[in-house]
């Protein structure tokens, strides 16, 4: 009976092509529970957002998936394989751009290639074809301090992409940007995500950003974080910027707003 159930489950997973599954994450920090029984999944080429109040432990969830923080309880599986606590299975971008100030943009974005053992020359060669897509053409030999906040995030995103895992974790990448730059970057991110075909797991506490970008949203509670609700966003793609003013958009926004409070 159990065996049959497992087989059915296995085929079900295959059918909808689940890239990443997080099961029953539970975590404590200095004796305080910060995450409680959080489970979710990410399908191939899907854009999924975790939304929750600031400091509810969203970043910790990412650190657990990336294998940087030891996991108290729970499981991570990628393409059906157990990857709990394994490092280097996902591309991970932090809230801070974390560009090394002494490296030019091209060498900063080449960092994952250099860590893998490429020479600087080889690594640079591999970066060049992507500069245009990421809007960094003409800036490749600048130092990070010479770039604007938006450009720095673009560089950080290209670096994340160059790690070339098909699962990408983005932790509030636009959190530090002004509203106008932010809105432009969101639009641009959708374009890029469409072209590079990646499965994206996104963190934000901005409801509008979450709805605009995502296929599905997991609403998390305050600390300790639990999944309160899963919301599927059925807005058509490609999404124009104006969609944020549509009635359907506002209905979803209202729903999530209530769910959060």
């Amino acid at each position: 009976m159990l065996r049959r159930l497992l087989i059915i489950l296995f085929y079900w997973e295959r059918r909808i092509n689940i890239k990443l599954r997080v099961s029953n994450f539970t975590q404590q920090y200095e004796g305080m529970p910060i995450i409680e029984d959080v489970s979710f999944y990410l399908q191939e080429d899907e854009f999924v957002t975790l939304i929750g109040p600031s400091g509810c432990g969203k970043s910790t969830i990412f650190n657990m998936i990336a294998g940087i923080v030891p996991i108290d309880e729970g499981k991570v599986s990628i393409d059906g394989e157990d990857c709990t606590g394994k490092i280097g299975q996902v591309s991970y971008m932090y809230q801070k751009d974390l560009l090394l100030p002494w490296k030019r943009v091209i060498d900063n974005t080449a960092l994952p290639l250099i860590i893998k053992g490429d020479s600087i020359k080889e690594a640079r060669k591999k970066i060049i074809p992507y500069l245009a897509l990421f809007g960094l053409e003409g800036f490749e030999y600048k130092y990070p301090a010479q770039l604007s906040g938006g450009m720095r995030q673009r560089a950080a995103l290209l670096r994340t992409y160059m790690f070339s895992k098909d699962i990408v974790l983005l932790d509030e990448p636009f959190g530090g940007l002004d509203a106008i730059t932010r809105s432009k970057m969101q639009y641009w991110l959708l374009e890029v995500a469409d072209q590079v075909r990646a499965s994206v797991l996104f963190i934000t506490h901005d409801i509008e950003e979450a709805i605009y970008l995502s296929d599905r949203i997991y609403v998390l509670t305050e600390r300790p974080a639990r999944v309160r609700e899963e919301v599927a966003i059925s807005l058509p793609r490609p999404r124009a910027r104006e969609i944020v003013t549509s009635a359907q958009f506002n209905r979803i926004k209202k729903h999530i707003l209530f769910s959060l409070s």
Binding site: I68, I87, G88, L98, L100, P101, A145, Q146
Partner: protein
């Protein structure tokens, strides 16, 4: 009023001040208020300095050789120790207090001991230089290695970087500004250290020369030697600033 002084610029004010002191000093000696054999005038010092330059050359080279050798050895050792302390907290805990206590021992006391243990050659002088340079270098390096945002290391960890890659790609470059401030201090100390070492005796060196001319009461030559030591330290300081300028191009790009 305040604005007016601000406009003169930070570089001219100390020069004017120094010039005033020198003129005052010159006048005191010229008027005979203080006897020349007790305090030679600035002009005397410069004239004597030019005169003794050929005979002092060999001493200058010796001191420079001791100072630079000591500095190099101190750099290598401080780098090794800082790396060890940074990687193993046990070593850090064990060594840090000793390092600080070691700084309370006056160099003047150790120099004669080194002379007794290692003779009158170059070695005891180099040892003094290493000792005085070591501390500022280790402290600045440790501070620099700790200054990196730990998220940088987490990021590199998520990219499967090994410890050595994290060190040379992120930690070491981030420690460079601190390292260079320590190095500038160490470089000026190195000349003084070598001179103190030479006071205990030896064949050549600015300290040896200084002891000799002091014993023959040629105070103008003592002053001229001091001037040369100051000049040497300043040159070393500037050379290190230049190396820093060349090694850290991103700093220049930011200032543009």
């Amino acid at each position: 009023m305040r604005k007016k002084w601000g406009n003169i610029g930070n570089k001219t004010i100390p020069f004017i001040f120094l010039a005033a002191i020198l003129v005052f000093w010159q006048l005191i000696v010229d008027r005979g208020i203080i006897a020349r054999y007790i305090l030679p005038s600035p002009v005397d010092v410069i004239l004597v300095g030019m005169k003794i330059l050929p005979e002092i050359k060999v001493h200058l080279y010796t001191t420079l050789q001791e100072a630079l050798t000591g500095l190099m050895v101190a750099i290598v050792f401080s780098l090794l120790l800082a790396m060890l302390m940074d990687n193993f907290s046990l070593i850090q805990k064990a060594v840090q207090p000793l390092l600080i206590v070691s700084q309370t021992i006056p160099t003047m006391v150790l120099a004669p001991l080194f002379a007794m243990w290692f003779g009158f050659g170059l070695l005891p002088k180099i040892m003094v230089v290493i000792l005085v340079c070591f501390f500022p270098l280790v402290v600045s390096l440790l501070e620099g290695l700790n200054s990196l945002d730990p998220d940088f290391l987490n990021l590199m960890k998520s990219m499967k970087a090994n410890r050595w890659q994290m060190f040379y790609l992120a930690k070491f470059p981030s420690a460079l500004p601190n390292f260079f401030s320590g190095l500038k201090i160490a470089a000026t100390y190195s000349i003084i250290g070598a001179v103190i070492g030479e006071w205990m005796g030896g064949k050549a060196g600015l300290g040896v020369y200084m002891t000799r001319v002091r014993q023959s009461f040629a105070l103008d030559k003592v002053f001229a030697t001091i001037l040369i030591i100051v000049f040497l330290s300043l040159v070393l300081f500037k050379i290190i600033e230049l190396i820093q300028f060349l090694l850290m191009p991103w700093r220049r790009a930011i200032n543009k």
